[in-house]
Symmetry: C3
């Protein structure tokens, strides 16, 4: 039995944001066993699973990824929407558009330190839409 | 009810290619709710979801990724099949071997700008095999 | 019918390790059609699918990723657990926390050269926990 709904997140600033509670709250009651599934409907933002405790991890992730996919890369063609646009597309594919988390005993089988991040790669983006559901 | 079939894509040149219609056409009629799933059976090519409109995104993705994973990296051992081979393996793991897309109301719940890319990382590759199905 | 169990891998040294047999052995008998699913419960290690034959691919992957996500990156804040910690978080999100493999005719529909890698990004890590199951 699959059932999906689309939620709209509030707008977030550029960076990595822990949104585990928002996503979990969007789901119907968890079955004993199954899979939670989340899919972001955008190509300049992403979802990923990373450390849920120390916020410095989220800030350092941003420093690394901005260095790996720099805005001042020479020879780009897709620049009409600003210098943050094309790097955002590259980053979106590196981090990916969906995450899934198994359910065991009616609870998310996340590791102790795992949470779900919204990866916002644009300087100014509206609230992103995420498809949330159970498999 | 899961059902998968393997399709063989035509050969594509190195680069990123929008193959959404080919993949969707490979599926049986969509259920009201469910998940479309695609898995590439190769380790030097990948699948990803990115922008379906402006082809300059696909060309710029190629420029970025060739810079991030360069062919002239010193000290490589896996070079027998040519300078594009080992970088292709790295890129394949960065982009990933599978993508999934939720189905809502009998239609793919893709965002307006989302499409599925074949990421071809070899200079000369035969047509790639993709497992296509519904979950 | 979903059923997951958590297995604990033995400790592995930093690097990429082919663990396909361990993961397949953890599953119940495969159905005729379905999906194998594996999820790592950590944020400084990952799972990916890559070439199962030549071990030089695994060594070269390590060289590339250590160069793309260097330990001596200036300005990091999350350094308390050692210089390999923050880079491990970045790499974990690049490679991803889960992999899935379709099942066709009761067998894993892997390509000839595909296997599952444990990506161990810490210098000294205990055995990692992986959720294994069928969808």
């Amino acid at each position: 039995m699959k059932e999906f709904k689309i939620i709209q997140l509030p707008p977030y600033p550029r960076g990595f944001h822990l949104i585990t509670p928002i996503l979990l709250d969007s789901l119907p009651p968890l079955p004993d066993s199954g899979l939670m599934y989340f899919f972001i409907q955008h190509t300049s933002a992403a979802l990923t699973i990373n450390e849920n405790a120390d916020p410095s991890v989220r800030r350092d992730l941003e420093k690394y990824i901005d260095n790996i996919v720099p805005e001042d890369f020479p020879g780009l063609e897709h620049t009409l929407e600003g210098p943050d646009d094309m790097p955002a597309h590259v980053k979106a594919s590196f981090f990916g558009s969906s995450v899934s988390i198994p359910i065991i005993g009616g609870r998310p089988a996340l590791g102790t330190w795992q949470g779900i991040f919204l990866c916002e790669f644009r300087n100014r983006a509206p609230g992103r839409k995420v498809v949330c559901g159970l498999l």
